[in-house]
Protein backbone atom coordinates (compact mmCIF):
# COMPACT_ATOMS: atom_id res chain seq x y z
CA UNK A 1 0.00 0.00 0.00
CA UNK A 2 1.24 3.44 -0.89
CA UNK A 3 2.31 5.60 1.99
CA UNK A 4 -0.54 8.12 2.04
CA UNK A 5 0.16 11.32 3.95
CA UNK A 6 -2.26 11.47 6.87
CA UNK A 7 -4.89 14.19 6.44
CA UNK A 8 -4.95 16.96 9.03
CA UNK A 9 -6.87 16.03 12.20
CA UNK A 10 -10.36 17.48 12.45
CA UNK A 11 -11.05 20.20 14.96
CA UNK A 12 -13.05 19.27 18.07
CA UNK A 13 -16.41 21.03 18.33
CA UNK A 14 -15.64 22.60 21.71
CA UNK A 15 -12.23 23.97 20.70
CA UNK A 16 -11.40 27.62 21.46
CA UNK A 17 -12.72 30.23 19.01
CA UNK A 18 -9.13 31.30 18.39
CA UNK A 19 -8.13 27.97 16.85
CA UNK A 20 -8.75 26.41 13.46
CA UNK A 21 -10.13 28.97 11.01
CA UNK A 22 -10.35 31.27 14.04
CA UNK A 23 -6.55 31.47 14.09
CA UNK A 24 -6.54 32.59 10.45
CA UNK A 25 -9.10 35.26 11.42
CA UNK A 26 -6.84 36.19 14.33
CA UNK A 27 -3.97 36.86 11.89
CA UNK A 28 -6.14 38.86 9.46
CA UNK A 29 -7.74 40.92 12.26
CA UNK A 30 -4.26 41.50 13.67
CA UNK A 31 -3.06 42.81 10.30
CA UNK A 32 -6.01 45.20 10.11
CA UNK A 33 -5.63 46.31 13.73
CA UNK A 34 -2.00 47.18 12.99
CA UNK A 35 -2.54 48.85 9.60
CA UNK A 36 -5.60 50.91 10.65
CA UNK A 37 -4.03 52.06 13.94
CA UNK A 38 -0.68 52.85 12.35
CA UNK A 39 -2.38 54.77 9.56
CA UNK A 40 -4.43 56.76 12.08
CA UNK A 41 -1.34 57.45 14.18
CA UNK A 42 0.56 58.85 11.19
CA UNK A 43 -2.45 60.87 9.99
CA UNK A 44 -3.27 62.34 13.40
CA UNK A 45 0.33 63.15 14.29
CA UNK A 46 1.25 64.75 10.95
CA UNK A 47 -1.81 66.47 9.43
CA UNK A 48 -4.76 66.09 11.79
CA UNK A 49 -6.47 69.37 10.84
CA UNK A 50 -6.92 68.37 7.18
CA UNK A 51 -9.65 65.81 7.81
CA UNK A 52 -10.24 65.31 11.55
CA UNK A 53 -13.37 63.19 11.06
CA UNK A 54 -11.69 60.72 8.70
CA UNK A 55 -8.62 60.39 10.94
CA UNK A 56 -10.63 59.87 14.13
CA UNK A 57 -12.63 57.27 12.22
CA UNK A 58 -9.37 55.54 11.21
CA UNK A 59 -8.34 55.44 14.86
CA UNK A 60 -11.76 54.10 15.89
CA UNK A 61 -11.61 51.39 13.20
CA UNK A 62 -8.15 50.43 14.44
CA UNK A 63 -9.49 50.04 17.99
CA UNK A 64 -12.42 47.92 16.78
CA UNK A 65 -10.06 45.58 14.90
CA UNK A 66 -7.80 45.45 17.93
CA UNK A 67 -10.76 44.50 20.15
CA UNK A 68 -11.81 41.75 17.73
CA UNK A 69 -8.25 40.38 17.70
CA UNK A 70 -8.11 40.38 21.50
CA UNK A 71 -11.57 38.77 21.73
CA UNK A 72 -10.51 35.92 19.45
CA UNK A 73 -7.24 35.48 21.32
CA UNK A 74 -8.82 35.52 24.80
CA UNK A 75 -11.72 33.20 23.93
CA UNK A 76 -14.22 31.85 26.42
CA UNK A 77 -17.48 33.64 27.25
CA UNK A 78 -15.85 37.05 27.62
CA UNK A 79 -13.67 36.78 24.51
CA UNK A 80 -16.66 35.66 22.47
CA UNK A 81 -18.66 38.65 23.69
CA UNK A 82 -15.82 41.09 22.87
CA UNK A 83 -15.42 39.56 19.40
CA UNK A 84 -19.18 39.56 18.78
CA UNK A 85 -19.60 43.23 19.74
CA UNK A 86 -16.55 44.37 17.74
CA UNK A 87 -17.51 42.36 14.64
CA UNK A 88 -21.00 43.89 14.79
CA UNK A 89 -19.64 47.44 15.15
CA UNK A 90 -17.23 46.66 12.30
CA UNK A 91 -20.08 45.50 10.03
CA UNK A 92 -22.21 48.57 10.82
CA UNK A 93 -19.15 50.83 10.47
CA UNK A 94 -18.05 49.54 7.07
CA UNK A 95 -21.62 49.75 5.71
CA UNK A 96 -22.34 53.27 7.03
CA UNK A 97 -18.91 54.77 6.29
CA UNK A 98 -18.81 53.00 2.93
CA UNK A 99 -22.18 54.43 1.93
CA UNK A 100 -21.40 57.93 3.30
CA UNK A 101 -18.00 58.10 1.59
CA UNK A 102 -19.69 57.53 -1.76
CA UNK A 103 -22.72 59.76 -1.10
CA UNK A 104 -20.82 62.64 0.54
CA UNK A 105 -17.22 62.61 -0.68
CA UNK A 106 -16.58 66.11 0.72
CA UNK A 107 -16.88 64.90 4.33
CA UNK A 108 -14.33 62.15 3.64
CA UNK A 109 -11.51 63.83 1.72
CA UNK A 110 -8.93 61.33 2.96
CA UNK A 111 -9.34 57.58 2.98
CA UNK A 112 -10.02 55.37 5.98
CA UNK A 113 -10.08 51.57 6.01
CA UNK A 114 -13.85 51.64 5.63
CA UNK A 115 -14.10 54.27 2.84
CA UNK A 116 -15.86 53.01 -0.30
CA UNK A 117 -16.55 49.72 1.49
CA UNK A 118 -12.84 49.07 1.94
CA UNK A 119 -11.97 49.16 -1.77
CA UNK A 120 -8.44 50.33 -0.92
CA UNK A 121 -7.94 47.05 0.93
CA UNK A 122 -9.41 44.72 -1.70
CA UNK A 123 -12.85 44.88 -0.06
CA UNK A 124 -11.54 42.63 2.71
CA UNK A 125 -12.96 45.05 5.37
CA UNK A 126 -16.42 44.42 3.87
CA UNK A 127 -16.13 40.61 3.79
CA UNK A 128 -14.28 40.18 7.08
CA UNK A 129 -17.15 41.02 9.51
CA UNK A 130 -19.42 38.53 7.73
CA UNK A 131 -16.83 35.77 8.08
CA UNK A 132 -16.19 36.80 11.70
CA UNK A 133 -19.88 36.79 12.65
CA UNK A 134 -20.46 33.50 10.80
CA UNK A 135 -17.51 31.96 12.65
CA UNK A 136 -18.79 33.13 16.05
CA UNK A 137 -22.31 31.92 15.18
CA UNK A 138 -21.03 28.50 14.10
CA UNK A 139 -19.08 28.19 17.34
CA UNK A 140 -21.78 29.38 19.71
CA UNK A 141 -21.95 27.29 22.88
CA UNK A 142 -25.40 25.85 22.00
CA UNK A 143 -24.43 24.80 18.46
CA UNK A 144 -26.19 21.46 17.71
CA UNK A 145 -23.65 18.68 17.98
Amino acid sequence: MADQPTPAPTRPRDAAIGSGLGRVLLLVYGIFALSASARALVQISTHFSEAPLAYLLSAFAGLVYLAATIGLAVGGVRGRMIALVSCTIELIGVLIVGALSIADAVAFPDDTVWSRFGSGYGYVPLILPFIGLWWLWRNRPSYPR
Binding site: P9, L27, V42
Partner: protein, 121 residues
Protein backbone atom coordinates in the same frame (compact mmCIF):
# COMPACT_ATOMS: atom_id res chain seq x y z
CA UNK B 1 14.13 49.39 -3.27
CA UNK B 2 13.05 48.63 -6.84
CA UNK B 3 15.86 46.24 -7.70
CA UNK B 4 15.74 42.58 -8.69
CA UNK B 5 15.75 41.64 -4.98
CA UNK B 6 12.25 43.11 -4.49
CA UNK B 7 10.99 41.44 -7.63
CA UNK B 8 12.43 38.09 -6.54
CA UNK B 9 10.80 38.46 -3.11
CA UNK B 10 7.41 39.23 -4.65
CA UNK B 11 7.62 36.31 -7.11
CA UNK B 12 8.75 33.81 -4.45
CA UNK B 13 6.00 35.01 -2.07
CA UNK B 14 3.30 34.69 -4.74
CA UNK B 15 4.45 31.20 -5.80
CA UNK B 16 4.56 30.05 -2.17
CA UNK B 17 1.16 31.66 -1.51
CA UNK B 18 -0.49 29.74 -4.35
CA UNK B 19 1.24 26.55 -3.19
CA UNK B 20 -0.11 27.00 0.37
CA UNK B 21 -3.63 27.66 -0.95
CA UNK B 22 -3.47 24.43 -2.96
CA UNK B 23 -2.24 22.59 0.15
CA UNK B 24 -5.11 24.11 2.17
CA UNK B 25 -7.62 22.97 -0.46
CA UNK B 26 -6.08 19.48 -0.20
CA UNK B 27 -6.69 19.60 3.57
CA UNK B 28 -3.01 19.36 4.49
CA UNK B 29 -1.46 20.65 7.70
CA UNK B 30 1.76 22.63 7.22
CA UNK B 31 4.60 20.16 6.66
CA UNK B 32 8.17 20.78 7.74
CA UNK B 33 8.97 21.71 4.14
CA UNK B 34 6.13 24.27 4.18
CA UNK B 35 7.41 25.83 7.40
CA UNK B 36 11.04 25.87 6.22
CA UNK B 37 10.00 27.43 2.89
CA UNK B 38 8.29 30.22 4.81
CA UNK B 39 11.43 30.71 6.92
CA UNK B 40 13.46 30.89 3.69
CA UNK B 41 11.07 33.60 2.48
CA UNK B 42 11.55 35.37 5.84
CA UNK B 43 15.31 35.31 5.24
CA UNK B 44 14.85 36.79 1.75
CA UNK B 45 12.64 39.53 3.21
CA UNK B 46 15.18 40.17 5.98
CA UNK B 47 17.93 40.71 3.37
CA UNK B 48 15.62 43.10 1.48
CA UNK B 49 14.93 45.06 4.67
CA UNK B 50 18.65 45.24 5.58
CA UNK B 51 19.41 46.60 2.09
CA UNK B 52 16.61 49.17 2.54
CA UNK B 53 17.92 50.23 5.97
CA UNK B 54 21.45 50.66 4.55
CA UNK B 55 19.85 52.73 1.77
CA UNK B 56 18.29 55.00 4.40
CA UNK B 57 21.77 56.00 5.57
CA UNK B 58 23.59 56.11 2.24
CA UNK B 59 21.07 57.05 -0.45
CA UNK B 60 18.07 59.32 -0.82
CA UNK B 61 15.78 59.19 2.16
CA UNK B 62 12.04 58.80 1.39
CA UNK B 63 10.05 61.96 2.17
CA UNK B 64 7.77 59.98 4.47
CA UNK B 65 10.57 58.08 6.15
CA UNK B 66 8.77 57.40 9.47
CA UNK B 67 6.04 55.49 7.61
CA UNK B 68 8.78 53.77 5.61
CA UNK B 69 10.51 52.57 8.79
CA UNK B 70 7.14 51.44 10.19
CA UNK B 71 6.52 49.37 7.08
CA UNK B 72 10.07 47.95 7.25
CA UNK B 73 9.52 46.74 10.83
CA UNK B 74 6.12 45.22 9.92
CA UNK B 75 7.54 43.56 6.82
CA UNK B 76 10.51 41.95 8.54
CA UNK B 77 8.38 40.67 11.45
CA UNK B 78 5.50 39.44 9.32
CA UNK B 79 6.61 36.04 7.99
CA UNK B 80 8.12 34.85 11.32
CA UNK B 81 4.80 35.68 13.09
CA UNK B 82 2.96 33.65 10.45
CA UNK B 83 5.31 30.69 10.99
CA UNK B 84 4.75 30.96 14.75
CA UNK B 85 0.94 30.96 14.33
CA UNK B 86 1.06 28.16 11.75
CA UNK B 87 3.07 25.99 14.16
CA UNK B 88 0.31 26.47 16.76
CA UNK B 89 -2.25 25.27 14.23
CA UNK B 90 -1.40 21.78 12.88
CA UNK B 91 -4.49 21.64 10.64
CA UNK B 92 -5.31 22.87 7.13
CA UNK B 93 -5.87 26.30 8.69
CA UNK B 94 -2.21 26.48 9.64
CA UNK B 95 -1.42 26.13 5.94
CA UNK B 96 -3.96 28.87 5.16
CA UNK B 97 -2.18 31.16 7.66
CA UNK B 98 1.04 30.68 5.67
CA UNK B 99 -0.92 31.29 2.45
CA UNK B 100 -2.50 34.53 3.67
CA UNK B 101 0.85 35.79 4.95
CA UNK B 102 2.62 34.95 1.67
CA UNK B 103 0.00 36.85 -0.29
CA UNK B 104 0.09 39.92 2.00
CA UNK B 105 3.91 40.18 1.81
CA UNK B 106 3.98 41.32 -1.86
CA UNK B 107 1.53 44.09 -0.92
CA UNK B 108 3.89 45.23 1.85
CA UNK B 109 6.85 45.20 -0.56
CA UNK B 110 4.86 47.17 -3.16
CA UNK B 111 3.87 49.74 -0.51
CA UNK B 112 7.54 50.03 0.50
CA UNK B 113 8.42 50.68 -3.14
CA UNK B 114 5.71 53.34 -3.44
CA UNK B 115 6.89 55.16 -0.32
CA UNK B 116 10.55 54.88 -1.36
CA UNK B 117 9.85 56.44 -4.77
CA UNK B 118 8.76 59.73 -3.21
CA UNK B 119 12.03 61.28 -2.11
CA UNK B 120 12.15 64.87 -1.06
CA UNK B 121 14.50 67.22 0.48
Amino acid sequence: MNGPLSTATIVVALVLGVWYLVRTAMNRAPSNTDLWSMLALSALVAILVVVAVVGLFTGDRPADWTTFVGYLITTVAFAPVAVYLARLEPTRWGTLILGVASLVLPVLVLRLQQIAEVTGG
